[in-house]
């Protein structure tokens, strides 16, 4: 029995402390180092935050370079495919232009109607956002746990935590981490994402809740609410973070929201430099 216990302790100690010929560190010393780094980072000392911000900027750029092959090869394939589909694409684009021309006429009418209705309601005039920063997506790593992207603009461009991020005016998420030259954007489908939204002709209020899946869901709805498919969901702006009326997606018949922008297909995004009225995260 004692022999077996000795055996166990020898194997245990050896596994923790042994260093091979080419190994400079024992596992034990590295575990201690990892624990120290973890707690320094979690309890957020200023020096560590600055160091982490610098490390983030460097690693994100290396990640961008390292991921170049994965971006180039699908791009070449798409380029060849699109070359052969030019004629068909041209016809489709002509049809789209015609459709947009007719929509443009409608838009002018609706804009005027909207202005008049706002005057009637005597509400605060919501100015269109002109102070925006265009950013390139550096890293779009699809984690099973966190749905976020890294963009190439940071605190140097006056980006702060909480700012909304859009693509083609569609809301895609908000800034949750800023470094000097890069930022992390939490996407709407992340488990940690909660956005107040409004939709349908009754201006129903709800919270858009990310679930880590592709489609976020609507929660905190009125009792006995019946879901209808294809209704556009907008940010309500009640949190003082997102601009009211920013389109997000369309409802499905089971309470999820099909986002207008596929979170896995982001290349360029726009950060709206609106300072949130409260600290986020």
């Amino acid at each position: 029995m004692s022999v077996s216990r000795d055996d166990f302790s020898i194997a245990f100690r050896s596994a923790l402390l042994q260093r091979g010929a080419t190994q400079k560190f024992s596992i034990f010393s590295l575990i201690i180092l990892a624990i120290v780094i973890f707690f320094l980072d979690v309890y957020g000392f200023k020096a560590i935050k600055t160091t982490r911000s610098f490390i983030n900027d460097v690693v994100y750029r290396v990640t961008y370079l390292a991921s170049t092959p994965t971006r180039i090869f699908p791009g070449i394939h798409q380029g060849i495919a699109s070359h052969f589909n030019l004629k068909k694409e041209n016809e489709e684009l002509r049809q789209v232009i015609e459709r947009y021309k007719s929509l443009d006429l409608n838009l002018e009418y609706i804009s005027n109607e909207n202005k008049n209705l706002k005057k009637v309601l005597d509400t605060e005039n919501v100015e269109s956002v002109s102070n925006v920063v265009l950013a390139k997506v550096l890293v779009d790593r699809n984690s099973p746990f966190l749905k976020s992207i890294i963009i190439n603009k940071g605190s140097k461009e006056d980006i702060v935590k909480g700012m909304p991020v859009t693509q083609n005016k569609y809301l895609i998420g908000r800034i949750v981490e800023t470094n000097y030259l890069s930022s992390r954007v939490l996407l709407l489908n992340d488990l940690n994402s909660r956005i107040p939204v409004t939709f349908d002709d009754k201006s129903t209020q709800a919270i858009l809740t990310g679930g880590g899946t592709r489609k976020p869901t609507l929660s905190y709805l009125p009792e006995d609410f019946q879901f209808k498919e294809g209704i556009t969901v907008f940010a309500s702006g009640k949190d003082g973070i997102f601009t009211a009326g920013t389109p997000i997606g369309k409802t499905t018949d089971y309470g999820a929201v099909e986002l207008f922008v596929d979170p896995n297909q982001l290349s360029y995004v726009t950060v709206n430099l609106i300072k949130p009225s409260k600290e986020v995260f």
Binding site: S14, Q18, I27, I31, F38, F145, N192, R214
Partner: protein
């Protein structure tokens, strides 16, 4: 002869390069576009296999660094992936010290223990010391598929080891 040595060194560095590349690049093993719940932690499989078979190719210093890089890229608190990887490394070392001959079945069983310890530590720390919320269902799927896919990667890595590095185990 010198040329052959460089090629051999490159092959021997293959697992470590793969580990670093998986940590730093956009490449992921989360195939949710094809199958919504499928995700696996290939880094843990790589570390465990090579620590058991060829520990000299996978030093703990490199494992620690790969974990730190992974944390930065994924947005986790620094050191959390390193801790879970080092725990896998520790279990692998222990199993190697205690066993003479290992088979795919015995490695699979001991990998299960390493994976449970590593994921338990990872998610306990994340849950208690971070504001990041994580779906327990996703953790379960990730653990299941990582365990389920281990024999496939065991065979692949074993083939690589026999073909390019040499068949003799550590």
């Amino acid at each position: 002869m010198a040329k052959l040595n460089i090629v051999q060194k490159l092959f021997a560095a293959g697992p470590l390069i793969l580990l670093y590349y998986l940590s730093i690049s956009e490449i992921d093993t989360n195939l949710e576009k094809l199958f919504e719940v499928f995700s696996l932690n290939l880094q843990i499989i790589i570390i465990y296999f090579w620590i058991i078979k060829r520990p000299n190719l996978m030093g703990p210093g490199h494992i620690f660094l790969a974990g730190l890089i992974n944390d930065v890229v994924m947005g986790f608190p620094l050191g959390i992936s390193s801790l879970s990887y080092l725990l896998v490394c520790f279990v692998g070392n222990y199993v190697r010290n205690k066993s003479v001959n290992t088979t795919i079945a015995s490695d699979w069983f001991t990998f299960f223990i390493a994976l449970i310890f590593a994921n338990l530590l990872f998610f306990t720390l994340l849950n208690n010391f971070s504001e990041v919320a994580i779906s327990y269902a996703k953790i379960g799927y990730n653990t299941f598929f990582t365990l389920f896919m281990f024999p496939v990667f065991w065979l692949l890595f074993n083939f690589y080891k026999i073909s390019f590095i040499g068949s003799q185990d550590a």
